[in-house]
Amino acid sequence: MSLDWIIFIASAVVAVFGATMMIAQRNPVASVLYMILSLVAQAVCYVQLGALFLGAILVVVYAGAIMVLFLFVIMLLNLKGTEDLGAPPPPVGQFTKYVFAVLLIMELAFIVKAAPFAGIVTGVVETEPDDFGSVRAVAERMFTDYLYPFELTGVLLLIAVVGAVVIARKRRPVDTGDREGGGVE
């Protein structure tokens, strides 16, 4: 077994373990930490596939910034453990969900196995260019062929920032009598 396989299996096991624990935890803070573990393991896979730039971006932006955003929201909400999760739903519904999820995984594995591109995906191109996946290679493509989508992404981010601020802003008491959304119930 080559070193590549050892690294891949180790990172894959950690990624799947982190993802599983992430959805199994009842404490959202522990959930976020397991998600970060899974993301770092996925970044190892990125680097193994030659995507050095995106591996770094995944750790810095995703495991760093976005997960800290989640932690901030958890802190802001001041959730007290598991007290408001209510009674567990009926087991029949849970069973159906698990069956559906397992079927989905089997279906995805079957697609990978049976797809007509099997000849391509089993044999990796051995001779990769020196700068495959480097900042330079990605940027060259991004600022030439994909310039228009890239600029649109900037507009999208601006809209998202403005929208998030507008949504999360505290309503002024001028909203007469309906403060704190009293009429929702």
Binding site: F8, R26, V32, Q42, C45, I66, L85, V124, V184
Partner: protein
């Protein structure tokens, strides 16, 4: 050398775990993280394919997906804060006003 199909199977498993998370969790924040996990699984498949075909186009698409995921997380978390302010809970089973 690890064949690309191994990475695709890993991506499929991660996507499945994300789907299970979306289905079974009752915590809105964990539900959001499960959606992020599914996005990441798709990203892993894209990177594996761009390695198989020796093209960096997949990397550009992954970069755009990461940007969109960041925007989605910002708006979604703002929604969570708003909902919590109104309902004092983030248990998605309680949000049944629009349930038929």
């Amino acid at each position: 050398m690890v064949p690309v199909s191994a990475y695709l199977i890993l991506a499929a498993v991660l996507f499945g775990i994300g789907t299970i998370g979306v289905l079974i969790t009752r915590n809105m924040i964990v539900l959001f993280m499960a959606i992020e996990l599914m996005l990441n699984a798709a990203n892993l498949a894209l990177i594996a394919f761009s390695r198989a075909f020796n093209l960096v186009d997949g990397h550009v698409i992954v970069f755009l997906v990461l940007t969109i995921a960041a925007a989605e997380a910002a708006v979604g978390l703002a929604l969570i804060v708003m909902v919590y302010r109104n309902r004092e809970t983030i248990n998605i089973d309680r949000f049944n006003v629009m349930k038929w």
